[in-house]
Structures are given as structure tokens and as C-alpha cells.
């Protein structure tokens, strides 16, 4: 068995990509992200496009267009989908940071109630630089009990167990 030979020159692809406006790139990235999130939630709930179409009173073709990864969603449409699915479809960096902080507070309060000695250090940059949230937030356990503490964040964006 062999593998296909590789094309050595893909410069035209790279050139076209580099000439694409940042706005168009952002539009397609955002539309794909929203479509993928809807697809993921539908999959979790065992819903087909036909089911979503029925619930929203739309045609299946319209739902197909929404999920194409290139649709220009309005806030109204996203709101309708969120309402029907009962799940957050889009979020913002502020919501993620707020959710992260709330989750940490809950863990802290929970462990404080159990009289478990723990310390948290959350870098200031968490609140000022959204992109560095996962890198700069640190939780330092002073007790082995903390290893069993679970924390989760709204919108299924960040879930995990500290170890």
C-alpha cells in the first residue's frame, strides 16, 4: 500500500486566503462556530433537522441553510433557536469570565462550608484579558480533599475536574 504523492505548490490557495478580508474571515468563522454549536446541541438532544424545523415552524431547507456554516444569523434567529433548544448557543468573553468567577466562588464556598482549607489565586488578567483566562487562573489546593472538587461553567464551554 502507498500514500498519495503530495502537491508541493499550494501558493495560490495561500495567496487567496491571505487576500481575504478580515471581516469575511470573521463572518465565516462566526457562522461556522454557531452552526457547529447548534449541530452539537441537536446531536446531544437526539434531534434531526426535521424536528428543529417543526419546533420552529420553518422548512427543513431553511434549517439546512442555517447549519451550512455560512448563514448570516440574526440575533432574533439565534434567540429563537436558544429558546427552542433550551441551551446557550452563543456566548461572549464577558459571560465566560463571569461564569468562571461564579464557579470558583461556588467551589470556594462549598469547600469553606466543609472547613477544607484551600487557597485560590486568580490572576488579575482574568478580568482584563479574556483570552488568557485559562492560562492565568490558578487554583492551589492545600488539602487533598480538593482533588475531588468539581467545577463547571455555564454553556458547557469549560468543564473539568481539578487534579
Amino acid at each position: 500500500m502507498k500514500k498519495p504523492r503530495e502537491v508541493t505548490n499550494t501558493s495560490l490557495f495561500d495567496q487567496i486566503l491571505s487576500e481575504t478580508s478580515a471581516e469575511d474571515k470573521n463572518f465565516i468563522a462566526n457562522s461556522l462556530n454557531i452552526a457547529h454549536q447548534i449541530i452539537a446541541v441537536m446531536s446531544q438532544q437526539g434531534l434531526k433537522q426535521k424536528d428543529l424545523a417543526t419546533r420552529l415552524g420553518k422548512t427543513e431547507a431553511e434549517i439546512s441553510r442555517w447549519l451550512s456554516g455560512s448563514h448570516n444569523f440574526t440575533i432574533r434567529t439565534i434567540s429563537k433557536i436558544q429558546t427552542i433548544l433550551g441551551e446557550q448557543i452563543v456566548t461572549t468573553p464577558k459571560l465566560i469570565v463571569d461564569g468562571f468567577s461564579d464557579a470558583l466562588d461556588k467551589v470556594f464556598i462549598s469547600l469553606k462550608d466543609q472547613k477544607t482549607k484551600v487557597a485560590f489565586t486568580v490572576s488579575d488578567t482574568v478580568r482584563t484579558s479574556y483570552s488568557t483566562i485559562t492560562k492565568t487562573a490558578k487554583i492551589i489546593p492545600l488539602s487533598a480533599n480538593f482533588e475531588n472538587a468539581k467545577f463547571s461553567y455555564p454553556g458547557n464551554f469549560l468543564t473539568g475536574t481539578h487534579s
Binding site: 500500500m1 502507498k2 500514500k3 498519495p4 504523492r5 503530495e6 502537491v7 499550494t10 495560490l12 490557495f13 487567496i16 486566503l17 487576500e19 481575504t20 478580508s21 469575511d24 474571515k25 465565516i28 468563522a29 457562522s31 461556522l32 462556530n33 452552526a35 457547529h36 449541530i39 439546512s64 441553510r65 447549519l67 451550512s68 456554516g69 455560512s70 448563514h71 448570516n72
Partner: protein, 175 residues
């Protein structure tokens, strides 16, 4: 470039670009200067008013490849083959010759969520691909390729493992 498709056309599958989620392959038909996807890019890039749409198409391919995988929802069904893009808007324009334009079409084969074979395409100027003087031949060719590849996968001369295509040492795709 004018194509005439004949029976028993030998072609070679080539690895084009590997992204985190998808590896894209292309097809080079023996005797043609460019592989099919390159021919599409060169021709469409030469027409200035198609350029923005071509850029969006390339961005879509790149984004799907890097961040999402080739989800079935992102492709349009074209009988045995697929095409990009899905209708991202109701694109309809009238060109200088008075023909309606339905947007660029790039025919392809979405073999798995990890492997896509990019073929050729054009500006669609008829409602049905079969009737389109620009896209008709690419649509038919894509379906011809789809049938040949499906046969070779069934025969075991061509296999897909994750993002890789593997084939017999003397493999040639006969169209």
C-alpha cells in the same frame, strides 16, 4: 480551458493540504496541466467579480479543515458527490450577458469527516447543475469520480484511515 471527458480516463489522487481536522486531497487527470482544484482556483481568480466569493470559499475550506471537520451539514448534496458552499445566502445576480448567476460551486467528495477530495467547479448560471453550461460538466465529472472511488473502496484497492488515504502500489483511478 475546455474539457472533454472520455471513458477510462486515468487520474491520480494527490494530497493537497492537511489541517488539524481535515486533510484535503485533489485529483490530477493524466494529460492535463493542472489538477482539477488548481484549475478551478486559477480560472475563478482571473475573473475579478468572482474573487470575493472565491476568497470566501477558500476561507470556508480552511476553517472547516482547521476547526470543525467536514460535517455533513456543511456540504450540499450533488447526487453521489457533494459541493461547496451550502447556500450561505440567496445569491442571485445577473451578469453582463444577461444570465442569472447562482454563485460559485466547487464540486467535491466528502469521503469522511476527516477526508475531502476537492474537484472543480465554476459560476452556476442555471437553476439545475445538469442544465448549467458552466457547471454541468464539473457536476457530471464529480459524480463520475464518486462512483469510481466508491467502487475502489468496495474493492479494497483504496482505503481511508483517519485523515490518510492509502492505496495499492500500482493504483490508478480509472474514470
Amino acid at each position: 480551458m475546455i474539457f472533454t471527458y472520455k471513458l477510462s480516463l486515468p487520474a491520480e489522487i494527490l494530497k493537497y493540504k492537511e489541517f488539524k481536522k481535515v486533510t484535503y486531497y485533489v485529483l490530477h487527470v493524466e494529460g492535463r496541466g493542472l489538477h482539477e482544484f488548481e484549475d478551478f482556483q486559477v480560472r475563478m481568480n482571473q475573473i475579478e467579480r468572482y474573487r470575493t466569493e472565491l476568497q470566501k470559499m477558500i476561507t470556508l475550506i480552511s476553517e472547516i479543515g482547521e476547526n470543525h471537520g467536514a460535517l455533513v451539514e456543511f456540504f450540499r448534496n450533488e447526487r453521489a458527490a457533494e459541493a461547496l458552499p451550502q447556500p450561505w445566502y440567496h445569491y442571485l445576480d445577473v451578469n453582463e450577458g444577461g444570465a442569472e448567476e447562482y454563485g460559485l460551486r466547487l464540486y467535491c467528495l466528502r469521503l469522511t469527516p476527516d477526508v475531502v477530495l476537492l474537484l472543480n467547479g465554476d459560476m452556476k448560471i442555471a437553476h439545475k447543475a445538469d442544465d448549467c453550461p458552466n457547471c454541468g460538466k464539473h457536476f457530471k465529472f464529480a459524480n463520475q469520480v464518486a462512483k469510481a472511488i466508491n467502487k475502489d473502496i468496495e474493492d479494497g484497492t483504496l482505503s481511508i484511515y483517519g485523515k490518510d488515504i492509502e492505496m495499492d502500489d500500482d493504483y490508478i483511478l480509472n474514470l
